[in-house]
Symmetry: C2
Subunit: 451 residues, 2 copies
């Protein structure tokens, strides 16, 4: 009997998690992974810290190199772009960096093509390379170190968490930073009242935040380098421009091959990461949908944490296993200047959009006992069902020690805990970590009182 | 109709929470609180930080003074010790600091007499005042500041969390510190493998830790001041001695009055903080039992977090309300030198003692993404039921950001989550806060693999 072959498209978190899981489970299987770029298994989340200089070496963002994967028995082909999938013939068409095409057979397939930065429609945007991959980040940092003197100006278009992290990275380099956002608030994953604190943190660090402003053009010099960003109201000089206007799942290749696209725009999968109706074909990571347990519908949330889990599950199930991905609840955390920011479940806005009835309350407290050094502000906003009191979501903004508390709320949302019960839960207390009532207990009680 | 009167014995967390809740709910009720000492509502947990000098003023440990309570309409009587309770006649006998006795009637009663330091049986122990109240802490600090020069020696007897915090406080003052513990490990609330890391942290700070050593005598000079601590094997010079050998509920007064003592040695209460068979009599805080939800039996856990909640519930129920205290699961957190330490649910030892079958696993990871500055070690130990995988307990030791994760495990234990589900839970990820798999997910998976 010929050796069976598992092919993987995409060599980042989801793809290499699938490869590694399959490799561990089935030593006789041939596992081959095709990656368009030069790197595997890197931390896209770490890129702003590398750009800002907090992380010195790009290499440290790479959790496992192609060589390391090869040493584990995975046939990694970097600079190898899959340009066509033939599901009937079980064959991929792969193009090398040199432009040569080859045909690669497979028995099982994992599609892990990730996400790509959205290209905004305004003129000049094409001149800006998205800093989404390690090699692009290296080019950006090199450009900053060449040209980037203290006092240089940077414009960040888009005030999502990546835009905010990049703005902070530029400030760390001593640059004057303007952030331009079309929406009336920063960080659209938060409700506007909570986002206002994040904006305070960015402004407190010296970032000029311009909201409700659509970019009309990135003005380029004769050499094609950016010199300014123009909105309807104002033109902002810019020695450097970064675009952080979101990213979308890369699904064209899979769609051409006949795989189903779901309502979120990403590849449809079942809870085993299987592409429906396609035996032995899986999708995982940023290119795939996940079931949102609170909204009870498929969503596309591009995060390394989901990519790793889904990839592993795809690898297990591609090798005869039976593991289920239980879905997501929209948990996320980031560090923006002096504040930590977390969110889970649904926000007030998401509830309104989905016509879900809620009650909500926001409290302000301190991260530590008031007398303990280093205590700072923390805001907690909770969203709950008005009938049962079931916790549906939470948002946290505050100083050191604030954000990882979001995992407590995530566990409560996941478990279907009601705010009345959360208010009396046996959470830990010691002066370096909270007041005697943890801010989460205080917030839960504030919501419970509204029921 | 005469005004009804609620009397409270004890003016700290539980007592004043009861008083405040009752006051808010029933403006016509007369609320009187008798407190033996000069202070109300202080943070006993903050005392080591005051002794060490991290907190400058003793006043900052007081969350609400007698005057503030009085301004809220609570009749606080400090330096007033209740010496007898007559439940039949609904009357307290109260002795003032001047030695005068008076009779005080009540309709409802809340017993919140707290806990007191255990007096060890060896000679010389009577010369050491426990640093358990704000005024005692003031005397200790004054003594340290008078005599406590850099290089002075201190011996801490007992290596529980208070002993460890006091040892650190002395190190902060530049003293040479020896800690003597009868048990073979520090911090008996942890399993010995996890406690070993805490010992490392204390030793890393310069504390000499002597385990398995029973103190036989505190050697006093002619003036009655300690000069050394003697064990069977060694005599340790000591300019200052602190006892941290645990505390026990203060129940003598209530027992004499006929209130029931439970199997834990504390006052028996139902889930409404009512003393069984005694209409209108409640107990709350360190002197009362709590239901342990995992062990399914009453326990006495002396913590401000329970005292506040139970006190409030007693105050609500004493004024016609109907609130239930849902029990405890043994959650606790502390900061010991470079490590943060958390625990919840049951430990491996507690499971063995209670003959509960378990599986357990311990993992070591990093508090942040490996490349992010400030990443440090974190150990997570989980205890689960072997059949269902239900999480029964967890312990965490690690550097900054480690310990408050215990609340995630507390929420999971409380909700009856299984480790298989915990391993795939949507916890937050960003490089400043964890690797892409949070240490809790890694630990849950390690246990799940054993099922």
């Amino acid at each position: 009997m010929a050796t069976r072959r598992l092919a993987i498209i995409g060599g980042d978190a989801a793809g290499m998690s699938a490869a590694s899981a399959a490799r561990r489970r089935d030593p006789d299987l041939e596992v081959v992974a095709f990656e368009r770029g030069p790197y595997t298994s890197y931390s896209a989340c770490g890129i702003p810290y590398y750009v800002g200089g907090l992380v010195e070496e790009a290499d440290s963002l790479i959790s496992r190199s192609p060589e390391e994967h090869r040493a584990n028995g995975i046939d990694v082909r970097t600079r190898s772009e899959v340009v066509a999938i033939d599901l009937g013939a079980r064959r991929l068409t792969v193009r090398s960096a040199a432009g040569e095409q080859s045909e690669e057979p497979f028995d099982q397939l994992v599609v892990a093509t990730g996400a790509a930065a959205v290209r905004p429609p305004f003129p000049g945007a094409e001149a800006i390379e998205p800093a989404q991959t390690v090699d692009a980040a290296e080019r950006l940092r090199a450009a900053l170190e060449r040209g980037g003197r203290t006092g240089d100006s940077a414009v960040v278009v888009g005030a999502g968490y990546i835009g905010l992290e990049m703005a902070e990275a530029f400030v760390d380099r001593g640059m004057r930073v303007t952030m331009i956002e079309m929406a009336p608030q920063v960080m659209a994953t938060l409700d506007s009242d909570m986002a206002a604190h994040v904006q305070d943190a960015a402004e407190g660090r010296g970032v000029r935040v311009v909201l409700g402003a659509g970019v009309e053009e990135i003005v380029l010099d004769e050499g094609g380098a950016p010199v300014a960003v123009r909105t309807a109201g104002e033109t902002f000089e810019a020695d450097h421009v970064v675009l952080g206007v979101g990213s979308e799942p890369v699904v064209g290749l899979a769609e051409d091959a006949g795989l189903e696209i779901g309502e979120s725009g990403a590849l449809r999968v079942d809870d085993h990461q299987r592409c429906p109706g396609q035996d032995g074909v899986f999708a995982a990571g940023d290119c795939a949908e996940s079931h949102h347990r609170v909204l009870d519908r498929p969503v596309n949330i591009q995060l390394g944490t989901h990519a790793n889990k889904q990839g592993r599950i795809a690898g297990v199930n591609a090798t005869g296993g039976d593991e289920r991905f239980p879905g997501v609840i929209g948990t996320a955390v980031s560090k923006i200047c002096r504040y930590e920011v977390g969110r889970t479940g649904i926000s007030e806005r998401e509830a309104n959009d989905a016509r879900i009835e809620i009650v909500t309350a926001t409290i302000k407290d301190r991260t530590r006992a008031g007398y303990y050094p280093g205590a700072g502000p923390i805001w907690v906003k909770l969203v709950a069902a008005p009938d049962s009191g079931r916790l549906l979501g939470g948002q946290i903004v505050g100083t050191e020690g604030a954000a990882k508390r979001i995992d407590v709320l995530a566990t409560a949302v996941w478990s279907g805990l009601a705010v009345q019960e959360l208010a009396l839960l046996d959470l830990s207390y010691a002066p370096p970590f909270s007041g005697v009532y943890d801010p989460l207990l205080i917030a839960a009680r504030a919501v419970a009182k509204l029921l």
